[in-house]
């Protein structure tokens, strides 16, 4: 036993030929966020606080599809969503359709703690943000040149592009069979457990490139992209529509509870049951285990455990 933490910056068709200028900043961001999370756990911050502050850091980084750096809707706007869940109480909070809130994950936490509801969206969520006095900025703050370019490319190809690390200059990525060439990246997340088995999960995203205005993905749906209970905490990433139908996050916990599988077995089973190229997840258990399986080409990820193990990775 002991604390454990894992975080991700999205799973998808991350090309093995990803050039250093695109790979290194992301690895650095993962390392930085991992350090922050580990420091917080060492300082005995509750896991709910830890996952929130790590996801805030990931949202603030322009390199991942959440907060600043979010991919754009078909109208060129940003609509962000996030979700947080506490394993002990199974209290949760979720938000969707945010366009001015700097840290969606913190607003999700406020929904959980300051309202009788679990999930607020669009205008109602934005109004709540103002009532709560959270930091809001002009929507343009979140929009990066890369994402403007990605939207242009997606429109040209007339597809909803889930990939956001598709090279902009026309370099072809590794082809994975069974996909239409759309790779699947998006979302940031963090799961953590302390030495007493308290668990928490948090996920945040800008969604899909060129998504329809108003489209909601798996991230804010409890049991799909985010879940925590006394057994484990899970954050998923990949093709939202697949993650929803497979209730991925809930299923990891359900397999542990109802079938007695270990964390690793449950997580591997769930990922294997989803079509290849569709999903990845990070998970920690009450006993401090950690696992980060994915069936995509890669997943930006990092983890650490109290016994000194740590890892940062993209591919297998």
């Amino acid at each position: 036993m002991g604390w454990s933490i894992a975080l991700h910056g999205g799973a998808g068709d991350i090309p093995l030929t990803l050039p250093p200028e695109r790979r290194l900043p992301r690895e650095a961001a993962l390392r930085h966020c991992l350090e922050i999370g580990v420091a917080a756990l060492k300082a005995h911050r509750p896991p709910l606080d830890v996952v929130e502050l790590v996801v805030r850091e990931l949202e603030n980084s322009p390199h991942f599809n959440a907060g600043r750096g979010s991919v754009l809707t078909t109208n060129g706007t940003v609509e962000m969503e996030a979700c947080i869940m506490d394993g002990n109480t199974q209290k949760c909070g979720a938000v969707s359709g945010l366009s001015t809130v700097v840290n969606a994950i913190s607003l999700a936490r406020l929904v959980m703690e300051k309202t009788p509801h679990i999930y607020l969206a669009f205008d109602g969520a934005e109004a709540f943000a103002r009532e709560q006095g959270v930091e809001t900025v002009d929507a343009s703050h979140f929009i990066t040149p890369e994402n403007i370019e990605r939207l242009k490319q997606a429109k040209k190809a007339n597809r909803v592009q889930i990939d956001y690390t598709q090279p902009i200059k026309g370099q072809t990525p590794q082809d994975t069979s069974g996909t239409t060439g759309d790779s699947q990246i998006g979302t940031v997340g963090c799961v953590a457990v302390d030495g007493d088995g308290n668990l928490a999960a948090a996920t945040s995203t800008g969604g899909l490139v060129n998504k329809m205005v108003g489209r909601i993905g798996d991230t804010p749906i409890i049991g799909a992209g985010t879940y925590a209970n006394p057994f484990c905490a899970v954050s998923a990433t990949g093709k939202g529509e697949s993650i929803i139908r497979a209730t991925i996050a809930r299923d990891v916990a359900a397999l542990m509870e109802y079938k007695g599988l270990s964390l690793k077995e449950a997580a591997a089973y769930v990922i294997e049951s989803v079509p290849k190229g569709n999903a990845g997840l990070i998970a920690v258990s009450a006993t401090g285990e950690v696992t980060m399986p994915f069936n995509t080409t890669g997943m930006f990820r990092a983890c650490a455990t109290e016994d000194g193990y740590s890892e940062i990775g993209i591919w297998n």
Partner: protein
């Protein structure tokens, strides 16, 4: 075993003082909608089509909290949501924040079939509705006089709930006038923090297994009386309010937050799949073990033609039927 089966609900958490005429009216609507589903199943209509047809009927009738007759937001408007899931392939569609779409469940179906996504909400969903040419009406169409009165009472109840001894308005169902009784808060049956006399049982739903053994589920609601604008409940959330797979189909109703936290619909299927429980066993297990302090009910069917339901609330408007001729409509235990 085998054959088709259907169950419907009109919400869980019923006022024990609901006047007899209202109970009869509710049962008549349930029987009528159930019969529509039965007739479709006898004509070999597919499960996913049957649940849509039946929920459309429940939405259109103002008696239950969905479509016309939806509970009101704190601003006095209607924001509706719905979801549908086809157990065959586990395809799904969901919508939230609808204000003009006459039949939310049908828009959810179109999201599933005509968009690259699974869930659309608010302005984006309304735009999609217009693109698809579904029937839209003014928001006022969905608002009933009774719910305007209920909203007022809910606002009063919410503001006085912190007193330990409060006068409780009670609605006289026939004339709409309000009497009052004095009771302590502890004596009061509550759902979602509201006295049960004011609470609008949330949601309508239908689950079906067709003659081919395919299951489907659909759920639709106006949501919680006096909810914050933008509040999303369990009904449009796959795995919480609605779920269908090749084993079974489930639709839930009750305290949305409790249903979400316990992923109630998915859990019925999960204990069948992972623990090998039968349908009613699974239903009983999740109702008894998964809700903690929460109050909810659900209906379920299995691919073997079984039908089941359970609730830990005070009553649930429901109806069910199976191919061998069994049919029942009920409210209480």
């Amino acid at each position: 075993m085998g054959g088709w089966a259907i169950a419907i609900h009109g919400g869980a958490g019923v006022d024990p003082n609901l006047p007899e005429e209202r109970q009869e009216e509710a049962k008549r609507v349930l029987a009528r909608c159930l019969q529509i589903g039965i007739d479709a199943l006898r004509a070999s209509v597919r499960a996913v089509d049957v649940v849509e047809i039946v929920v459309r009927e429940l939405e259109t009738d103002p008696v239950f909290n969905s479509g016309r007759g939806s509970a009101l937001t704190r601003k006095g408007t209607v924001e509706m949501e719905a979801s549908i899931m086809d157990g065959r392939g586990r395809r799904c569609g969901a919508v939230s924040g609808l204000t003009t779409v006459k039949n939310p469940v049908s828009l959810a179906r179109l999201v599933m079939e005509k968009s690259p996504h699974s869930y659309l909400a608010f302005d984006g969903a309304e735009d999609f509705a217009r693109e698809q040419g579904v029937e839209v009406v003014d928001n006022s169409y969905f608002i009933t006089e009774e719910n305007v009165g209920m909203l007022k009472l809910a606002k009063e109840a919410n503001s006085i709930m912190f007193d330990y001894r409060v006068p409780l308005p009670v609605i006289d169902g026939c004339s709409g006038s309000a009497g009052s009784i004095v009771a302590t808060v502890d004596d009061v049956l509550q759902m979602n923090g509201l006295p049960i006399s004011i609470y609008a049982p949330e949601t309508v739903g239908c689950v079906v297994v067709d003659t081919n053994g395919w299951c489907a589920a659909a759920t639709s609601t106006g949501g919680l009386m006096n909810k914050m604008n933008g509040r999303i409940g369990d009904s449009p959330l796959i795995g919480s309010g609605t779920y269908a797979c090749n084993l079974c189909a489930i639709s839930c109703t009750g305290e949305g937050e409790a249903i979400i936290r316990s992923t109630l619909a998915r859990d019925v299927a999960a204990v069948m799949e992972y623990k090998g429980l039968g349908l009613q066993e699974a239903v009983d297990f999740v109702i008894n073990e998964r809700l903690d302090e929460g109050k909810a009910g659900l209906i379920a069917v299995s691919r073997n033609g079984e039908v089941g339901y359970g609730f830990n609330t005070n009553g649930m408007f429901r109806g069910c039927a199976t191919e061998d001729g069994f049919m029942e409509v009920g409210i209480w235990e």
